[in-house]
């Protein structure tokens, strides 16, 4: 930088670089006295060193997340069998067209809607209820709390295996309970075209409730005690306190949790694979299992990528719609 004499013209150049936001370049100029002054007056001191702090994150994210996504978008317009030496064959929108004609896709979409709706309907109320349980102080609180949360952290494949045996016809504990209540003990939940998807949805709720319980409970704990105390003094019942004070105050958390629930339900893969593997037939197929099968069983990589792109688009759409709806609700 010694090449640049501190003339008026160069100052202007430096200023424009500064305006362009390339803070890294400015570091080189830091040592020259006339610029130091400039920096101080420009509030530049505050932001010194911000770029190196954010750069590793940017590189990691771009390489591992952004690049594969763009690559997926690109490949989705080609036909490709996954073998490295074979060339990509341009297919235009053919992959997308076959997505909408694929019968298993229709089943998958229907299943995903079932899973998402039951997840929200199940997890939010149960989560709120459990959160208010663990807010209380009683003997064995820690044990109860740990038990409520345990399903969240257990590997989904082991959960799947566990419930495969719990739902086993005749001998399984679930069949025994059904028998106890006078039902048919031969009920084969996971082998039934209609029932299997509901079993998957229930197991997903069973797995995720604990997480949302902790979310709500931490939001509840952050509510200042004097608010509830003064409400109690004014003669409000527990129920009134819950619905009029607690619930509105943790509204933000619930909004976040609903988005999380929907995303989790939409992303479901492990549970389906471990419980039913998409069967019986293709009655519990979801988008992710279809994607996986098309790529690694049938070698239709282009088509699988098209499914991937559509998955991404749908999830973006869900988030936008949910956030919009919830924002509108909160304004009312």
């Amino acid at each position: 930088m010694r090449l640049l004499p501190p003339s008026r013209k160069n100052l202007i150049i430096i200023k424009t670089i500064n305006k362009g936001g390339k803070k890294g370049l400015l570091k080189l100029f830091d040592k020259s006295p006339f610029l130091k002054e400039k920096n101080m007056s420009n509030n530049g001191k505050k932001n010194k060193g911000a770029l190196p702090l954010i750069l590793p994150a940017f590189i990691l994210y771009s390489a591992v997340v952004a690049y594969p996504l763009l690559n997926m978008l690109y490949t989705s317009f080609f036909e490709w069998n996954g073998v490295y030496t074979t060339p990509y064959v341009f297919a235009g929108l053919k992959n997308y067209a076959s997505f909408f004609q694929d019968e298993s896709v229709h089943i998958a979409l229907k299943n995903i809607v079932i899973i998402m709706v039951t997840s929200v309907v199940g997890i939010v109320p149960i989560g709120l209820f459990l959160a208010s349980v663990i807010q209380k102080k009683f003997f064995g609180l820690r044990f109860v709390r740990v038990s409520y949360f345990l399903p969240v952290i257990i590997n989904k494949v082991s959960v799947g295996l566990m419930f495969t045996f719990i739902l086993y016809p005749m001998k399984g504990p679930f069949a025994q309970i059904v028998k106890l209540f006078g039902g048919n003990e031969k009920v084969n939940v996971l082998g039934n075209m209609q029932l299997a998807i509901w079993a998957v949805a229930f197991v997903l709720i069973w797995c995720n409730v604990g997480l949302h319980m902790v979310l709500y409970s931490s939001a509840m704990a952050a509510i200042p005690d004097d608010l509830t105390e003064s409400a109690k003094l004014d003669g409000a019942s527990r129920r009134q306190i819950f619905f009029n004070i607690t619930l509105p105050l943790i509204g933000n958390t619930i909004q976040i949790s609903v988005v999380l629930i929907l995303m989790n339900a939409f992303k479901i893969y492990d549970l389906v694979v471990a419980l039913t593997g998409g069967g019986p037939g293709n009655s519990t197929e979801v988008l992710s299992t279809i994607l996986f099968k098309n790529a690694f069983y049938y070698g239709k990589f282009g088509y699988a990528n098209a499914i991937g792109v559509i998955t991404v688009l749908i999830s973006l759409l869900i988030t936008v719609v949910i956030n919009g709806v919830l924002r509108a609700c909160r304004k009312d």
């Binding site: 591992v64 994607l291 998955t311 999830s315």
Partner: protein, 279 residues
Amino acid sequence: MNKIGKKISAGKIIFWTLAFLWLLTTIFPLYFTIISSLKDDNEIWESMIRFPEVWRFDNYVKANSVAGIIRATFNSLFLSVCSIGLMMVCVIPASYIIARKKIRGSSVLSMYFLAALMIPIHGALIPIVQMSNLVGGQNSMVYMIIIYSGLNFSMSSFLMSGYIQGIDSQIDEAASIDGCSLRGIVWKIIVPISKPGIATSCIVAFLSTYNELPLASVLLTKKEYQTISVALLAFKGDYQVNLSWIFASIVISMLPIVIFYILCQENVEKGMIAGAVKG
């Protein structure tokens, strides 16, 4: 007076009954798994609910020799810890910069980082597998660590920048006036204050990494690199294996994560109390 007391207790009975019912729902599958892991197969088929007559701990030894479940558990732990470490080192400073808008285009960057929050992992499954062929990432732990750290990136940066926004900016402004560099502020001030936030994002990231299935099942095909999900999934539909071995494997795979949870739960609870005090 008496009447009011009764009314409350009626509500309470329903409340606690429901709480107990859900407790049963969560506990029973675990109980069922543990007792079944100690029976032999005839006993399991006789009754899936009854307590084992003889405790057969050799099921665990068999399970390990058949499925290599301890090795798989270790692999999963190793991958999770390394990838979370790498990720947090990147995410914490970045979230601070974004939360405090220290750089031009902070909001754009924030949207860029959060974009993948809405995107299911398996969407990008195939490109990641393709990329692994390019850089020789098949059966490579290093590649998996880098990939896993990226997969949890958005969630952690979402949690962290949310948490840092909740910290009073006067604290770090005061430090900056006293001459603390940005790097110093992040590591000496923000990190200690946001421990609960860090714990939460670590837990979330740990859960998804430890339990991750689709990528591991494609990329880690060699038995010595198998993660816990892959090893367990191998049991699915394998009728040659004794049931008790499957259950024993499930229990082994659960142990480290249950211990981890009990240790870290303390951290999370402390964080909640701290948040309550501040509020």
